[in-house]
């Protein structure tokens, strides 16, 4: 038997979402909360969110949902967005910092990958990271530009992130 971390209802082993309250039973040591909607956006992003509509100024809002930490990171991709792990000693401050999400333990490199819009499409490029980048379980070659679609699951090292690209049609 499992006990739901949110409502304490008893659930069968193997239950993924509590049948009483719908909360996540597993997949993460960190209990999730509905507050994940209000998680503050990272610095660079805060300025862009709310002012940039999809398609305007060429910027496309994209949400990165980190499974392990239940954190949602919103970023508006206009030119290149660096995904990695910050290291003040080396002076590396990526646009999307996965350090707080257990990036070090999960094998995220300091400069891991680049998100960018190329020919109107969202793309990802692995920057020769130590532990690789995977799209839906398939490892992508370093320095190869790969298209990224909404709902894709991207793995930086072993850190899993679901991508949601906001479209104008909603």
């Amino acid at each position: 038997m499992l006990v739901c971390p949110f409502c304490q209802a008893q659930q069968l082993d193997g239950t993924i979402f509590c049948t009483v309250c719908g909360g996540g039973m597993s997949d993460s040591g960190t209990p999730e909360t509905t507050r994940s909607l209000e998680v503050p956006a990272p610095r660079r992003v805060a300025a862009a969110t709310g002012t940039t509509e999809p398609g305007m100024n060429g910027g496309i809002p994209i949400d990165l949902f980190v499974f392990a930490s239940r954190r949602r990171i919103r970023v508006v991709v206009d030119d290149e967005v660096l995904v990695g792990r910050s290291d003040s000693a080396k002076g590396i401050f990526p646009d999307v910092d996965l350090g707080p999400d257990g990036g070090f333990e999960s094998g995220v490199s300091r400069r891991h990958a680049i998100l960018a819009i190329r020919h109107g499409r969202m793309t990802i490029e692995d920057l020769g990271s130590s532990n690789g980048t995977f799209i839906n379980g398939r490892q992508i070659a370093p320095s190869a530009v790969e298209p990224l679609r909404s709902n894709d699951e991207v793995q930086f090292g072993t850190l899993r992130v679901r991508i949601a690209i906001e479209s104008t049609s909603g």
Binding site: G14, G22, G23, E32, S36, R70, N151, A164
Partner: protein, 427 residues
């Protein structure tokens, strides 16, 4: 059609291995069912379609204009072997075109162009007349359906509507009920269509009517298998907790234990252009270490165009039981994705029940959790909309009519035209 056409059954488990345990465990099985070898040019089965239109005064303006244009589109898509009838209703119902073969399209166009909106909404009479018309032609083989569109609330005859709908469905006549605007009774339309081959859908924008009508005719024309039914036999101790369609839209499917450890579900007609997925929740009994057959699945169906009945496809679902220390607890992401969307749908349904019972805080909490589920499933816009509606509900004690409909049908994937050929990883 050659008998090469068949249905393929694929399975994906939430976990391929479970820990050997003395307790029951839950496993989710995603069944992906795809037509295979269906020729691109199907010999079409004759259609028998009755269009049932609410012409109450609230339909005036853009709505009735769009509906008339969409009805004209249907007439264009039908062929000489198809039957078409047109019934309109307001305070009373009227057969504008009795069921007949679509030979004189010009007459039908004129009839459609003369529809005018006036009066109230009394649905039961309309439904009864539509059923009468659909039953008129003697079609030995074919696809029969009532396509209904309404924008209003019918009063006092709801029970009768459901009764007529059940009679139609028992005779293999499917019902598609489309609601337009914000005034219609979504609970009634959902009840009317709670059966295989039937569904309710929210037409959020009047201009979508034409696409939805045309899709409907195309889906009917593409039907290649009928009377599709799933039987599940379980090993001793197994329990099937639920069966839900998740693709192309979410719908709970009744599954009945007809005999001990032997379940049956009716899945209805199948279009050759459509892939469907179902999620089964299976309670697994304690198992010793080793590989075990868990379920025996059997899909039975008829191929009417080939004149073949009771085709069968089998599959065995197996599960590996390992020593606890050898089990890697990892959830299959595709199974989790669809489960997450299904859970969101269930949560919102519970929320409305709670709200009805006056438990506003609990209702709002359920909506918020539904929003969290959808967010993690990548349905960002819907998640934010539900979150906003949850906030309004907890502040004012009421959700908006439109919000309720958008959430109810949005979580099922039934707002606007349906993505029949949904690509898994598209936004």
């Amino acid at each position: 059609m050659s008998t090469e056409a068949r249905i393929r059954l694929n399975q994906l488990l939430s976990r391929t291995a479970i820990a050997s345990s003395t307790e029951q465990q839950l496993v989710y099985v995603l069944l992906d069912i795809q037509p295979e070898g269906v020729p691109a040019q199907l010999p079409q089965l004759p259609l028998n379609l009755c269009l049932l239109i609410d012409r109450s005064s609230s339909m005036k303006g853009e709505r009735i204009a769009q509906v008339k244009a969409a009805a004209l589109r249907i007439v264009e898509l039908l062929g000489e072997t198809d039957f078409f009838s047109l019934v309109v209703f307001n305070d009373r119902a009227e057969v504008l075109a009795p069921a007949m073969r679509v030979i004189n399209k010009q007459d039908l166009r004129q009839i459609i162009s003369r529809i005018e909106s006036a009066g109230g909404t009394e649905m039961a009479n309309g439904l009864a007349m539509a059923l009468q018309e659909v039953q008129r032609p003697l079609v030995k083989q074919g696809v029969s359906r009532i396509l209904m569109l309404t924008d209003g609330r019918t009063y006092g005859d709801e029970g009768q509507c459901v009764e007529i709908a059940r009679r139609a469905q028992a005779r293999s006549i499917g019902i598609t009920a489309l609601g337009i605007g914000t005034e219609w009774n979504e609970d009634l339309l959902e009840t009317i269509t709670a059966s295989e081959n039937s569904r309710a859908q929210y037409v959020a924008q009047a201009r979508d009517v034409a696409t939805i009508f045309a899709d409907e005719v195309q889906q009917m024309h593409a039907v290649f298998a009928q009377r599709v039914r799933l039987t599940v036999a379980g090993r001793p101790g197994v329990l099937i907790r639920s069966l839900d369609k998740v693709k192309p839209f979410i719908a709970p499917v009744p599954i009945i234990e007809e005999q001990d450890l032997h379940w049956v579900a009716q899945l209805g007609d199948w279009s050759g252009s459509e892939s469907q997925s179902f999620l089964v929740e299976v309670v697994v009994p304690p198992l010793p270490i080793g590989m075990h057959p868990l379920l025996k699945l059997q899909l039975q169906y008829d191929l009417p165009a080939a004149g073949v009945r009771d085709q069968i496809v089998d599959a065995i679902v197996r599960i590996n039981s390992l020593a606890a220390e050898d089990v890697q607890y990892q959830v299959e992401p595709t199974v989790k994705h669809w489960l997450e969307r299904l859970v969101a749908y269930r949560l919102q349904a519970q929320a409305w029940q709670k709200a009805e019972a006056g438990e506003i805080a609990a209702a709002s909490a359920h909506l918020k959790m539904a929003s969290t589920r959808l967010l993690s499933a990548g349905q960002i816009a819907l998640a934010h909309m539900i979150d906003a509606e949850a906030a309004q509900l907890s502040q004012s004690g009421q959700a908006s009519e439109e919000g309720r409909k958008r959430i109810k049908f949005g979580t099922r994937g039934l707002v606007g035209p349906i993505q029949y050929r949904q690509i898994e990883h598209e936004g």
